[in-house]
């Protein structure tokens, strides 16, 4: 009996202690977005180290920071200079090129001149005139981003070409940050890198993290809630960065085939994968690709899952997400469906 009471009291103590698991959070602006890193069960030092890692990567990968590696690569476009690049970044560039090959016309990190023509990188967003757009489109071709892995160099073959890593940098940062946290012994953390959400381990109480997928039509509501552990959920949609001109709305995800905002029948694409970098890149590429091509691509692989929100009011989730998924879209009038292989 005495032992039973002891166990009971210990259990109560643990329950109470569990309610107050220490956590540290860092919130900061970098990579043209706001980020927050929450680390459970450890002090502030680990969260600060994670932040430093992301900020260090921004200093390397930013196109708007004149001293960055990517700025150096862009500055030497067309002049024949091969820019020295460390092996990790070469691998990142090579990965981005491979997505362009896997989904032709849907993804290209050399889209930067077109983004500039639309003013999405600067202060004044506007519809570019046809000649400007044509000039910019002629510079989009990641096949002309030449990587030499043996020499450890990269170069852009034509003057005016420019690389922008906006569609992969957050996923890359998530992977690197997870490494930093794991090496410090962290087993539970949540990375919100500009609404790309990475779950490192489960929550402090052992349950998976609950991640809402925002409704493109109403950011206070969710299409569904995902259960996430050791994975990233990355979303792309045209509903957050846009402008209107002559009554027409133009968003910031440019279709490399047309030079215009992608118009594939989708409102948003959420990719869930244990490969953080893949999740980031595919959310953009599959938003451009559209429903049919996105689902065909999903069927051809087994390393990611999808939530698609279509313009005609359907929410499609792929079957790998079924365990732990809660559809919420019905409340807003969406037709919610599970997609099977």
């Amino acid at each position: 009996m005495k032992r039973a009471i002891s166990f009971l009291l210990i259990a109560i103590f643990l329950l109470l202690a569990g309610c107050g698991t220490p956590s540290a959070q860092e919130q900061f602006f970098t990579m043209d977005t706001v980020m927050s890193i929450t680390v459970n069960g450890k002090g502030a030092a680990e969260a600060a180290a994670a932040r430093q890692e992301v900020e260090g990567l921004n200093a390397l990968l930013s196109r708007t920071d004149g001293d960055s590696l990517i700025s150096r690569l862009n500055a030497h476009a067309g002049d024949g200079t091969a820019v020295e690049v460390d092996s990790d970044i070469l691998e990142l560039l090579s990965f981005a090129k491979s997505i362009s090959q896997l989904l032709p016309g849907c993804f290209d990190i050399t889209i930067a001149p077109v983004m500039d023509a639309w003013g999405f990188t600067g202060e004044e967003r506007h519809v570019p005139d046809a000649a400007d757009l044509a000039r910019a489109m002629a510079l989009v071709d990641s096949g002309k981003l030449l990587l030499d892995e043996e020499a450890g160099t990269a170069r852009l073959a034509e003057a005016g070409m420019s690389v922008d890593l906006g569609s992969v940098a957050k996923g890359y940062a998530a992977a690197r940050t997870e490494e930093v946290l794991r090496e410090a012994g962290v087993t539970s953390a949540l990375l919100d890198l500009g609404r790309n959400i990475t779950a490192v381990g489960p929550k402090a109480d052992g349950a998976p993290w609950r991640v809402g997928v925002a409704d493109p039509a109403d950011s206070s509501r969710y299409l569904c809630i995902l259960s996430l552990e050791d994975a990233t959920a990355s979303t792309s949609g045209g509903y957050e960065r846009w402008f209107e001109e002559n009554g027409v709305r133009y968003h910031h995800i440019i279709d490399p085939k047309t030079g215009y905002p992608a118009s594939s029948g989708l409102q948003s694409v959420t990719v869930v994968s244990q490969n953080h970098l893949l999740a980031d890149a595919l959310s953009t590429a599959l938003f451009v690709a559209g429903e049919e091509e996105a689902l065909d691509f999903w069927r051809s692989r087994d390393d990611f899952e999808l939530v698609l929100c279509t313009e005609d009011g359907r929410v499609l989730a792929t079957e790998g997400l079924e365990a732990g998924l809660e559809f919420r879209g019905e409340e807003q009038g969406y037709d919610c469906q599970m997609v099977r292989r």
């Binding site: 009996m1 005495k2 039973a4 009471i5 009971l8 009291l9 109560i12 329950l15 109470l16 309610c19 919130q27 900061f28 602006f29 043209d32 977005t33 706001v34 600067g122 202060e123 004044e124 967003r125 949540l190 919100d192 609404r195 790309n196 959400i197 929550k203 993290w209 609950r210 991640v211 809402g212 997928v213 925002a214 950011s219 206070s220 509501r221 969710y222 809630i225 959920a233 990355s234 979303t235 949609g237 957050e240 960065r241 846009w242 402008f243 948003s268 959420t270």
Partner: protein, 135 residues
């Protein structure tokens, strides 16, 4: 009348002891739940400009509209709070993404003005059914 509560008097716990332990446990759980329910609807909006909290509103306790002019921002803007919700009504920032976000009314929601490095975050205890939102 003699009350025997001395441990020295009794070496073996009785079913009464278990009952006391269970009552303590029940009281602890009730206390936890009670704390969780305290201010059951509370919804707080924090306005953070470049890392510094410049305003906080208990949206559930507001009885009428409140306006905050943030003149000190790089691109001055106007924040409106009402019972249960908050938004950036006007901003002189170039993209207007923060204004396009509209009203925020749920715990976990954020309104962000990137050019101003301004974040409005909503926090609440009861309605916070997710740990993060992807968008």
């Amino acid at each position: 009348m003699t009350v025997r509560w001395s441990a020295a008097d009794r070496r073996r716990p009785t079913p009464g002891d278990l009952l006391v332990a269970l009552l303590v446990a029940a009281a602890a759980v009730a206390l936890l739940l009670g704390l969780g329910q305290e201010g059951g609807n509370f919804l707080t909006a924090s306005v953070v400009l470049d890392g510094e909290t410049i305003a906080q509103y208990d949206l559930a306790a507001l009885t009428g509209p409140v306006t905050l002019e943030v003149e000190g921002a790089a691109y001055p803007l106007t924040i409106q709070a009402e019972p249960g919700r908050i938004r950036i009504a006007e901003s002189s920032c170039p993209g207007q993404d923060c204004v396009h976000t509209g009203w925020a009314s749920r715990a976990g929601q954020q309104i962000i003005c990137l050019p101003n490095r301004l974040v409005i975050s909503l926090e609440g205890r009861v309605s916070n059914e997710v740990d993060a939102v992807t968008s």
